[in-house]
């Protein structure tokens, strides 16, 4: 019997597990995929929003501002790449000028620190590649950028180190009440728990409906992105938004913590909650919209396109509350969910404690996580690292300078990866301009060696995504 079962290990489930792991609470996290953070958490704008967008008085407003305040501290503790770059909402018309004024006032009400309306001249001084059509901007110095999947991984890894259990490949099929708690039937077996947290992203309505009458519907929205080579990163120093509309915050251009440039997303409602394909129309839209912000982006420097799914719902706010006794929804966590995650976790703990969950400090809890990033070491540290482990002297990913030692570290991390992309998310291999063309086969080889699996069983990503389909010279030749 677990005290708490968390359904879903995206950024929200991971943040909840992390928060709970600081207390002596027996927690299990149920994740349907073969790795954590494979939903909205791995494909989004990677922004820590300042908090001027949400309507004052909403959960979104309060938790966004709080999450933005928490992010730098948590990221420092957990060794997660974070940069306080600040954001600009650019105005291009009188209408826009009014909008940024309104956002400013909203932000002040929400308690966003340091907001400023700045002049065209100041914008162009801060961002010299922005279109000269710009008329001014709302500057939010507290905004930042983060590596979203490493954020989730770090939170979940610390939770595991502190005793939480993560069950991958455990899609929830059925939930039934049993005394004070629940019995949860999953693809990998049955789990009973006194409390359940529903953090299942685009499927949060389905899970809610297993124990309660329908109260909301997820309306997933897909968005396409361009990820640009580091050679393009000089074009933006801050996260650059256009004025928001009903469709969302619009197409942004932002530096990433890895030194790339991210451009997107568009917003397309879709029926299929799982399929995150990019489309020619979506990518065209993103390019055209981005040109308004920065006219001269060189798309020859694109290294990857991807699409992500936002768990938008038919409600305007996050849906945080008990769906049934001891069953807590953390549902409809759309943007700014990544930012709000640690604040949502705080909120969840408060609600669970109010509902009778005993929170006694976990005396063995660790709060920090450290990771060796070879390329960031000083010369002396590099010498020392290789002398202690020669594998740090073998560079496998040339584009990002990731060593075999870091790949082996990833394979031995608290939530071991089972796929080439799992290593990419942990070690950073294949993130660069060759996109794993050179290092992919070597990463696959190392993963097979370290896990004892056959290379034929190594996956690229989710279950079913095998890389190789057989051996040569086994009689396959046909006339």
């Amino acid at each position: 019997m677990y005290d708490v079962a968390i359904i879903g290990c995206g950024i929200i489930g991971a943040a909840a597990a992390h928060a709970l792991s600081m207390y002596s609470v027996k927690t299990v996290v149920l994740e349907k995929e073969n790795d954590i953070a494979l939903g909205a958490t791995r494909a989004n704008s990677a922004i820590i929003h300042a908090g001027f967008d949400p309507e004052p008085g909403t959960l979104m407003a309060r938790l966004n501002v709080r999450g933005c305040e928490l992010a730098p501290k948590i990221c420092a503790e957990l060794d997660v790449p974070y940069k306080n770059v600040g954001s600009l909402v650019l105005a291009f018309s009188e209408e826009d000028d009014k909008t940024i004024r309104k956002l400013y006032e909203r932000g002040v009400k929400n308690g966003v620190p340091g907001l400023e309306i700045i002049s065209k001249a100041r914008v162009l001084e801060m961002e010299k590649y922005v279109s000269p059509e710009v008329t001014g901007a709302l500057y939010a110095p507290s905004a930042g950028i983060v590596n979203p999947w490493e954020y989730a991984l770090a939170l979940a890894e610390v939770a595991v180190t502190n005793g939480a259990e993560i069950r991958l490949g455990s899609e929830v099929k059925q939930i039934s009440r049993s005394g004070d708690g629940y019995i949860i039937t999953t693809a990998s077996g049955t789990v009973s728990a006194k409390y359940v947290i529903n953090a299942s992203g685009v499927n949060s309505d389905t899970l809610h409906n297993m124990v309660a009458t329908p109260a909301f519907t997820v309306k997933p929205t897909r968005g396409d992105y361009y990820l640009m080579d580091k050679a393009e990163c000089f074009r933006a120093k801050h996260t650059l938004f256009q004025c928001p509309s009903n469709a969302g915050k619009g197409v942004l251009i932002s530096p990433t913590v890895h030194g790339n440039l991210l451009i997107g997303p568009n917003a397309v409602s879709c029926a299929d909650r799982e399929r995150v394909n990019t489309t020619a129309d979506g990518l065209d839209f993103v390019r055209n919209a981005a040109a308004k912000t920065i006219p001269d982006i060189n798309y020859r420097n694109s290294i990857r396109n991807f699409a992500g799914m936002r768990a938008n719902t038919d409600k305007d706010d996050f849906i945080i509350g008990f769906a049934a006794p001891h069953f807590l929804d953390l549902a409809g966590i759309k943007s700014p969910g990544l930012t709000a995650a640690p604040a949502i976790a705080e909120e969840a703990l408060k609600l669970l404690a109010g509902d009778g969950l005993l929170l006694e400090a976990n005396p063995a809890a660790v709060h920090t996580r450290r990771k060796l990033r070879f390329k960031e070491l000083t010369d002396e540290e590099k010498i020392k690292a290789i002398s202690e482990n020669p594998l740090y002297g073998r560079v496998i990913c040339r584009c990002e300078t990731i060593t075999e030692g870091e790949i082996v570290d990833a394979i031995r991390s608290p939530i071991p990866p089972v796929s080439v992309d799992g290593i990419k998310r942990r070690a950073g291999t294949g993130m660069g301009r060759c996109q794993g063309g050179f290092c992919g086969p070597r990463v696959l080889d190392i993963l097979a060696r370290e896990t004892g699996l056959s290379p034929l069983d190594i996956l690229k990503d989710k279950n079913g995504s095998y890389v190789l389909c057989g051996e040569t010279k086994t009689g396959g030749a046909k006339g």
Partner: protein, 419 residues
Amino acid sequence: MRYELIVIGGGPAGLAAAISTHKNGLKRIAVIERDREAGGILNQCIHNGFGLHRFKEELSGPEYAGRFIDMLRDTEIELLTDTMVLSITPGKKVVCVSPAKGYNVYEADSIILAMGCRERTRGAIGIPGDRPSGVFTAGTAQRYLNLEGYMCGQRAVILGSGDIGLIMARRLTLEGAKVLACVEVMPYSGGLSRNIAQCLNDFGIPLYLSHTVTDVRAQNGRLCGVTVCAVDEKRHPIKGTEMDFECDTLLLSVGLIPENELTREAGIEIDPRTNGARVYENMETSLPGVFACGNVCHVHDLVDYVSDESERAGKAAAEYVKHGEASGAALEIKAGSGVTYTVPQHIRPGNVEKSADVFFRVNRIMQKSAIVLCSGGAELARFRREHMAPGEMEHIMLPAALLKNAQGEITVSTEEAQA
């Protein structure tokens, strides 16, 4: 540790350059190779057709590399394998790491850059759709099949008609896979005609020119099909021409990009057209004593020309170490009409003994045409060509006497005979 020459990269360019420098009198030479053996990409190019110019034989890639590795072994040149160069400094210090020797900084009197190139990826060409497994660059698939012995799929479509893609069409077919189509966005193939004949036609694999892949579909995480469309003159897909192929593999052979991260970080000038360093007649970059050759400088069609070019770079590095910097004013070599780039980008006539080699590519297929060299409004020379194609490198030799007549710059352009 101090060397007279450090060569970065032990592929065909690095090997030929190091051997040539040694022949020209240098002794303290190191070749730094990131892989566990020398030979570079030739090790996985097991097909034949290498060495026709140099050895008058049709060798396979490993055989061609093997001959140079043997030559290197007969010298005192040091080969540092499993070693990655992290950076080079403008003061010609080379920072590298290896599991065996750890972190080291070597000093060099001269450096030859020979890091080769990498393949363009799906992201660079922006193919929409799902992002499943089963989409490989042709070179990655080649490594899996030829070195590791694994099949990357059973039913394949190949996008791009570059030579590696064509070669892989044949390799996959011989290993029992079905190659459904080769799709090329341009109206002509990017590969050699002989490869179209012996890799596609021999096996009845259709080539769709002026077509591209417009959608990629996944089933359970693996590629299950692609959509191919005809394109108009601006290379935009034409609605209504969609063809669906059921396949588990998409190979991309859509171009090569010189790998110049080290070059850029060292502050060496890059030519945006070649994506390689801007070089002088002796393959010297904007940083005196640092030379570039092979595919890191510009993408070649035949390895034989890589070897020739690298030998010139090697000889020049030896000259530099023995006699110091080459001097004299430089003439700019400009790419004119029909020409996409030239290598070298500038020539110091005072440093040319007999003649200077100029390589370039044309931007379309041309029959019965002429290469025209102009300077200061006057025509300097004219070379006739029966046939030129973007997939093939063109070469002309400019005699020292001709260079003396040039003023400031020389423009290389093409003139096509009217049909």
